[in-house]
Amino acid sequence: MIRFEHIVKRYGQKTVLDGVSAVIPTGKITSLIGPNGAGKSTLLSIMCRLLKQEEGKVFLNDRELNEYGNKELAKKLSILKQSNNLDLKLTVRDLVSFGRFPYSNGRMKQEDWQKVEEAMAFCEITDLQDTYIDELSGGQRQRAFISMTMAQDTDYLLLDEPLNNLDMKHSVQVMKMLRRLVDELGKTVVIVIHEINFAAQYSDHIIAMKEGAICYDDDAGQVIQGHVLEDIFEMPFEIIERNNKKICNYFNL
């Protein structure tokens, strides 16, 4: 369980997060939504120690985050940020094997390679394993990086805009993969996401943020309602129900 209490983060004079508290439910996909500049990515980075907060505490399994050793934490919680434009000559297999670093410390054992194989198979990139990552398409590359975080074998995966620059097909692929991570392997996934329909279709829980504060924190079904979304994004929404699925329309309203 990830829990954070009263997180405050400032960049200079500007307060980006203003006393934010919430609990991330275990074994579910939680989506962080909200307009640009609401502090979603900052919150995600603080949850995984990439950024230090000015005030407040983050707890992982009721233990404060900075009480964990770096390596210990790397086995429990992994993060994938949105910009991964490496111009390194690395093959997919090499990249994914880096996910084992917290365990192997650079010396890969048989079981480490086993995990790498599994992670690649799960993300369906096994046949790309000898391709260099700078030769991959956006979707393939994203899956390669997710595969690396998977090889890390953590209970918690935090992803910052995993659908960035992906077309519909690849977006659906990535979201289905995350769904399987939760449903089949019991992981906890937190994503920052902009496309509201992906959040609506694939997540269990939604935390909506606005101007550095959390404004809604509820099951996906409760947040995906016309008046709620209108309040979050300050624009008109229309919710279309079809086959028990809620589709948000915000075009030409």
Binding site: L50, A74, I79, K89, F98, G99, N105
Partner: protein
């Protein structure tokens, strides 16, 4: 296949070249020639290895392939220090201060500079490595111009002492200094060896490195100190030679397919030693000291580098 033979063949090549360097055209006076050549050879190996290590580490932690520690002003701080010494002591400089003391001060000074820069940048807020570079470039320029200012003020005869530090030369013979520098190099290599594997992860960028459980800031601090020591070794022995780093590091990336830094640094060290020995050989026997090793290395290396770039373009 090619990869497997790369390091052995480079070792072999280096041995051949080194033997040639020592025994070619010795003349009759072996007792005089051989020890001097051996000292020069040892100097080149020490310098080659420190340049290779410092450049590879620096390029990896900055995620940039066109930088060398020279850009951080390490060398200009060394030259400024020498200039100030000469300014105060004049032609009595090396009576007032021995070469060994000088080396010691240079190491302390550069490490101090490293720590200062680090505290300045990372001390209060988390800032990124590019700000570190920017401050380094600006301070480097400051030290350089300060140095130049003092050089203009001092007596021309005394300036020639300073000049000695400003240009690369392998003919500065100083066995005592060489010994100290070798020991320093050896200690820092042993120290840095167990951290080399972290460079593989650091090359993926800060976020991924932290995600994979590295204490990123602490590691950068350690690497910066090691770089400072290595740069002082090469600069104190032969002068500002880290330019060689860009060339050999990039050639290594082209030749060496693996990204494991433990192998990359070995490869790069061999390459930079090869360049130095061949360059110095050409200077001594082909050009009869009419040119210097800097020019030879840059010319040969530049041509080869262009060849590599054209070749890689054809492949794409």
């Amino acid at each position: 296949m090619r990869q497997k033979y790369l390091i052995p063949s480079m070792v072999f090549l280096l041995l051949v070249v080194a033997t040639l360097f020592v025994f070619y055209n010795t003349g009759k006076n072996l007792d005089f020639v051989l020890p001097r050549r051996l000292i020069r050879l040892a100097t080149m190996l020490v310098v080659g290895i420190s340049v290779a290590y410092s450049s590879i580490i620096f390029q990896t932690i900055t995620n940039n392939r066109i930088l060398t520690p020279a850009i951080m002003g390490y060398e200009s701080i060394f030259i400024l220090f020498q200039t100030i010494l000469v300014f105060f002591y004049g032609d009595r400089t090396f009576q007032a201060i021995t070469q060994e003391e000088n080396f010691f001060y240079a190491v302390v000074l550069m490490m101090g500079f490293s720590v200062f820069m680090y505290v300045l940048i990372f001390g209060k807020a988390k800032r990124n490595i590019y700000q570190l570079l920017l401050v380094g470039v600006v301070l480097g320029a400051l030290f350089q111009t300060l140095g130049q200012f003092i050089q203009i003020v001092i007596d021309p005869n005394e300036f020639s002492i300073v000049q000695n530090f400003m240009f690369v030369s392998f003919t500065k013979m100083n066995t005592q200094l060489l010994l100290i520098a070798s020991i320093t190099l050896l200690v820092s290599l042993v120290y840095v060896h167990r951290y080399l594997k972290y460079l593989d992860v650091i090359s993926l960028g800060r976020d991924i490195a932290v995600n994979l459980g590295l204490d990123y800031e602490k590691l950068i601090r350690k690497f910066m100190l090691v770089i400072a020591v290595l740069v002082s070794v090469s600069t104190a022995l032969v002068g500002p030679i880290t330019f060689l780093g860009i060339l050999v590091a990039n050639l290594t990336y082209e030749l060496c397919v693996t990204k494991k830094h433990r192998l990359v640094v070995v490869c790069c060290s061999l390459l930079s030693c090869l360049f130095l020995v061949v360059g110095q050989f050409l200077v001594e026997h082909v050009f009869n000291f009419s040119t210097n090793v800097t020019i030879v290395i840059n010319f040969v290396g530049g041509l080869y580098f262009m060849y590599l770039i054209f070749n890689s373009r054809k492949r794409i």
